[in-house]
């Protein structure tokens, strides 16, 4: 049953390697091939999820490895959506490699079977919405990182002619905006459904666990950053730095807290 996930992982790996090659040469045809590989990987992973969740012993969506695989899959879909309007070749290698690691890891780990309290619609809604939000905000963070690197290169006036066709600053800023517009509401809904799910399980909407506390802190920080961005108090460079810092907090709240505790 996990063979489709291995196929998806293989396609992601091939897409990532092709994208690195396409950027290094640079060869637009190879880059196009990498994008097609990424799309095929996403199709294979969609089929894998559909197959897995039809099984009687469906894996739990709340399993961290499985949730990260979903996040990576949504990140790939989001990138493919953005690529319809913008030239984003530099995004393919990191997202393809993250998707490969997440999918391969989930297939190897054979996610736990869903417990009763993790199989309800609230649990699924929480994981799916939060994963979608995290994926979009992850893309925003990556756009922020690229923006800062590009901006630094430009300001240093060392290299003007690009050896690697990275996206333009304008494209990176647009990715940041679109990702925030989509990602923050999705994350907010994810946090809300998480609270409702907790309420259904424990009778409390907030139990004060490390994950919940950090998630709330990260959400509040993000809310402030998003408000500043759309109130016009931030330029593109500050917005890029904010997106990066905001995602670092979110990542810590989701993965880091688990590792620390």
């Amino acid at each position: 049953v996990y063979s489709l996930q291995y196929i998806a992982a293989g396609l992601y790996l091939a897409a990532g390697l092709a994208a690195v090659l396409g950027l290094a040469l640079p060869a637009p045809a190879v880059l196009r091939g990498a994008r097609i590989g990424l799309a095929l990987g996403a199709v294979a992973q969609t089929a894998a999820f559909a197959t897995l969740h039809r099984l009687e012993s469906a894996p739990s969506l709340t399993d961290l490895g499985h949730a990260i695989a979903i996040m990576a899959w949504l990140g790939v879909l989001f990138l493919l959506f953005l690529s319809l309007r913008l030239r984003l070749p530099g995004f393919v290698p990191p997202i393809a490699f993250i998707a490969f690691l997440a999918t391969f890891g989930a297939a190897l780990g054979h996610a736990e079977i869903a417990a009763d309290d993790a199989s309800g619609s609230l649990a699924h809604a929480h994981v799916l919405l939060a994963s979608a939000g995290l994926a979009a905000l992850g893309v925003a963070g990556l756009a922020g990182l690229f923006f800062l690197l590009e901006h630094r290169t430009l300001k240093r006036r060392r290299r003007v002619a690009r050896r690697i066709p990275l996206p333009s600053l304008e494209a990176l800023d647009r990715v940041n905006r679109v990702a925030l517009v989509l990602g923050f509401p999705l994350l907010s809904l994810g946090v809300l459904t998480g609270g409702l799910w907790l309420d259904a399980r424990t009778g409390e909407i907030f139990t004060g666990s490390l994950h919940e506390t950090w998630m709330l802190i990260a959400w509040l920080i993000y809310a402030g950053l998003v408000a500043m961005r759309f109130a016009g108090h931030q330029g593109a460079r500050q917005a890029a730095a904010s997106a990066l810092v905001g995602f670092a907090f979110l990542l810590f709240a989701v993965v880091g807290v688990g590792l620390v505790s």
Partner: protein
């Protein structure tokens, strides 16, 4: 016989100083220089980034003074900095250093964009001018021939010219690194020389939306503007308040009203303001704040223009503000109804012409 070189380039002098030394007939200048007993042979390398005099002489110290004086009085037509002030903005090379410098210049190693191919042609032009003027003897001829051979070797034996590089190419690369597409952008190019022309060609090839060419001599800018479907401006217009006002009106027409993709209904704020008045008073208030802000900006620019002497003293800026504002809204309403770009051009141009009539014709430039 010693070789002496006096010059200034993009590293030693700002562009407004360098441009004082640009232009003019080279051959009469060189003949005038060679009339001095201290100078045996002479050549003048003049590009947009450098002005250099290369001479041969038996008396290097005396020639040094002659060159500074010539630079200050003759090359700048009497309007350049004094000989003493020039010392900080120039470099002087003698003998081996001078020869080495000419080799570096011809090989494009000393250029602002290292490896750009135009400089070799410009050095060849300098040599041709000197030869035609009859001021280039055996020593300078040999120097230039060796410089051309060196430049050829540098080009063939190093990676310096592997990619076609030019200021124009760099400008386009830089623009593409910042902007996703140039179709909806406009560029202001300052100057009307070879580099600006090459940049216009490159930007045009990459689909630049609109181009403005500003030059100290507007006639030169106009000839380029005609070729590349751009608009010509004098340098003084770049910062002038009335120039800003004129561009604001042009942008209101081209980038706002005519932009059907983003504003399909024309001036949406007028519609908002009328429709929202009863239903959403707070939104209507925000729209009104926008109107007040635009009106305030128009008034401020007119006041600044008047204070700078660009507008006539009797101009009543408050009354003109009301008139321009009403004219802008009227133009948008008429365009909203008829969707006729010609009618919009006509009404906006009438406002720009009116602004032109208010200008103080006595102000120089």
């Amino acid at each position: 016989v010693k070789v002496v070189l006096l010059g200034m380039n993009h590293r030693t002098a700002p562009v407004d100083v360098r441009e004082l030394f640009a232009g003019g007939e080279t051959q009469p200048l060189l003949r005038k220089l060679i009339d001095r007993p201290e100078i045996a042979e002479a050549a003048l390398i003049s590009t947009c980034n450098r002005v250099e005099l290369v001479v041969t002489t038996d008396k290097p110290d005396a020639a040094r003074h002659v060159l500074y004086e010539f630079f200050s009085r003759e090359l700048a037509g009497g309007s350049g900095p004094s000989a003493a002030a020039l010392e900080d903005m120039t470099y002087l090379y003698k003998e081996r250093d001078a020869v080495e410098h000419v080799f570096r210049v011809a090989s494009s190693i000393d250029s602002m964009v290292v490896g750009e191919p135009q400089i070799l042609g410009q050095v060849k032009d300098a040599y041709r001018e000197a030869a035609e003027a009859g001021v280039c003897g055996a020593v300078l001829s040999r120097l230039f021939q060796r410089a051309f051979a060196t430049a050829k070797r540098v080009k063939n034996e190093t990676g310096i010219a592997q990619r076609p590089v030019s200021v124009a190419r760099v400008a386009v690369d830089l623009a593409k690194q910042i902007f996703e597409t140039l179709d909806d952008k406009s560029a202001l190019l300052i100057g009307a020389g070879e580099m600006v022309e090459a940049s216009l060609v490159a930007l045009h090839d990459h689909g630049l939306g609109a181009r403005r060419i500003a030059n100290r001599t507007p006639a030169h800018a106009e000839s380029l503007a005609r070729r590349f479907a751009g608009t010509a401006h004098g340098l003084d217009e770049i910062d002038s308040p009335t120039g800003k006002l004129q561009r604001f009106l042009e942008n209101y027409r081209d980038r706002y009203l005519k932009d059907r993709e983003n504003f399909p209904g024309g001036c949406i704020f007028v519609t908002f303001s009328v429709e929202l008045d009863d239903q959403r008073p707070h939104l209507c208030k925000e729209v009104n704040k926008g109107f007040v802000g635009v009106k305030g900006m128009l008034n401020r620019l007119l006041d600044e223009g008047k204070a700078a002497g660009e507008l006539r003293d009797e101009v009543d800026t408050s009354a003109i503000t009301e008139m321009l504002f009403a004219g802008m809204l009227g133009a948008s309403v008429i365009y909203g109804v008829g969707k006729s770009p010609e009618s919009l051009d006509h009404s906006t141009n009438a406002l720009i012409d009116y602004l032109e009539q208010l200008k103080n014709k006595d102000k120089p430039g």
